[in-house]
Amino acid sequence: MLRLDAFSVYRGPCPVVDDVTCEVARGECVGLIGPNGAGKTTLMRGALGLLPAAGESSLARLAPAERARAAAWMPQRREINWPVSVETLVRLGRTPHLPPGGRWGAADRAAVDHALARMGLDAFRDRTATQLSGGEQARALIARALAQEAPLLLADEPIAGLDPAHQIMTMEVFAELAAEGHAVVVSIHDLGLAARHCTRLMMLERGRLVADGPPGEVLTPENLARVFHVRAHYADTPAGPVFQPTETIR
C-alpha cells in the first residue's frame, strides 16, 4: 500500500522528516503519533508527493491521477471554500474516478451514498456545507475522503474538534476500513483512542521514526517520558485497553 525507504523531507537545510523507512500493508490502521512539530503532517504530505522529498515513496512515484486512485488524503486544514451542499462536497471524492468529460455512474452514486451513511450524514445531504458546525464539516470532509474509495486513506488529525461519540465513530470507521482490506494512516493526538482503535502506532520525534509496532509496545513509559514528556496510566480492561496521560514531566 505504502512503502517509504530512507525518506526525508527538508525545509531549508534541516530535515523535518528524517530518514524514515516503513511499510504499511492492507488491513492495517496505523496511528501516527508525536508531539506538535514532530513531522506527522510533513511525512504524510511528502509521502503523497505533495512536497519535494529525498528517498523513496511508493506513492510519490505515481502519476497524479493514478495516485489519486491509490490514496485519499484528508488535510488537517478543513477547507470548504464555497457554500455547496454536503452531497456536492462528498461527490468531489469521485473526481479521480471520472473519465475526462465523463458521466456520473451508478458506482459513483453508490460510493457517495455509502460514505454519507458511514459518517451519519444522511440527514445533512442537502444542507449547505459551510453553514454546518465545525465538527459536522469535519465529518463531511471525512465522508469526501471515504467516497474516493482508495485502497489507502491518509488523514491528518481527522477527529480533532469532534464530539466524543463522533470521535469514536470515526475511529471505528477507520478500523472497519482496515478490516475490509484497506489501509489507513491517521495522525492523532488522542493517545487513548489511538491505543484502542489502531492496529499499529508509529511514533515520530523531531522527524525520526522512534517507535513502530502494536500500541502496547509503542506506548511504553520510557517512550512517553522521552518523546511526549508525560506519565500515563495504561490498563487492559474487559472493555479494551484504556490509556490516559496523567501528568507532565519537567
Binding site: R67, R69, W73, P75, I80, W82, T95
Partner: protein, 329 residues
Amino acid sequence: MTARVLLPGLGLLVAVLFLAALLVGPAGIGPGESLAALLTGRGEAVTLVMREIRLPRALLAAMIGASLGLSGAAMQGYLRNPLAEPGLIGVTGSAALGAVIALQTGLAGAVALALPLAGLAGAGAAVALILLLAGPRGSAFTLILAGIAISALAGALTSLALNLSPNPFAAMETMFWMLGSVADRSFRHVWLALPFMALGWAALATLGRGLDALTLGEDAAAALGIRLARMRLLLVCGTAASVGAATAVAGAIGFVGLVVPHLLRPLVGAQPSRLLFASALGGAAMVLAADIAVRVVVPERDLKLGVLTALVGAPLFLHLIYKTRREGV
C-alpha cells in the same frame, strides 16, 4: 432543479437582448425593415447600418461579456475568492496600456488595427511577466501579488503616457477610449478578437473539474489528481487571451467579471464548474443590456459602456455585500 431552467433561461435572455441590440439605434429604422435588410441585403443604407454597424457592435458586446463573465467565474473559483475579477492578474491594465501607447504615438491613426494589436501585445507582455513573477510552482497567493504589481505598473505607465501626451486632444481621445465602448467597431474588430477569445474560452472551459476540487483547498485538490501548475497556466493564458482581446477592441469594461459570477453563484448551488458556462451567458446578457441602455437612456451624449457597467455594477455589488452580511456569512 434551478439549474435546468437557468441555462436555457440565460440563453433565451441573451438571444432576446442580442435581437434588441440589433434593433435599437439612432438611425430610427423600423424593426421589420431592419431585420429584412440584415437578412436579405435589400435597401442599401439600411443594410449598411445593420451589417456594418449594429451587427458587429452586438456581436462584440456578447463576445466581450461572455469573456468577462467566464474568466471572472474561473478566476474567483481558482482563487477561491468572490472578490476576484479577471483584471486582477493585470491583463486589463496592460492591454489598455498597449492601446494607449498606440493612441499617444499616433500609430493608431496611421496603421489600421494598430490600436487593438497594441492592446493584444500589452496583454501578452502581462502574461509573460506574471508567469515569470509567480513562478511555476507558486500558490494562488503569489499569483495575486504578481497581478497587483503588474496592474500597478501598467497603471503608472498609462498615467505617464497621458502625462507626456503631445497635445490635449490626444489625451482626451485616450481618456475617452479608456472608458470602454463597443460603438463604431467594425467586423475587422470582431475577426481580430474572435480567435483569441475562442482560444481563451476553450482553455477556461477545461478548468471545471479542477475548480470544483479546489473547493477543498490546494492540497486536497492536488491529492485528487488535479495538476495545479497546469491549471494555473491555462487560467492565466485563457484569461489573458479572452479578456486581453476584449480590452484591446473595446477598452476596459469593469465590474462584469466581478458581479456576474457573484450574482449567479447561488443559482448553480455554488459549484464552480457549473458557474463557468452560466457566467459566460450572464456576462453576455449584462454587456448587451448595458450597450442597449447607453443608446436608449442618453442617445445624444455618447455615454460609454464601461461607465455604465461600473455605474450599475458597483451599487449591485454593494447590495450583494449587504445581503451577505445580513446572512451572517
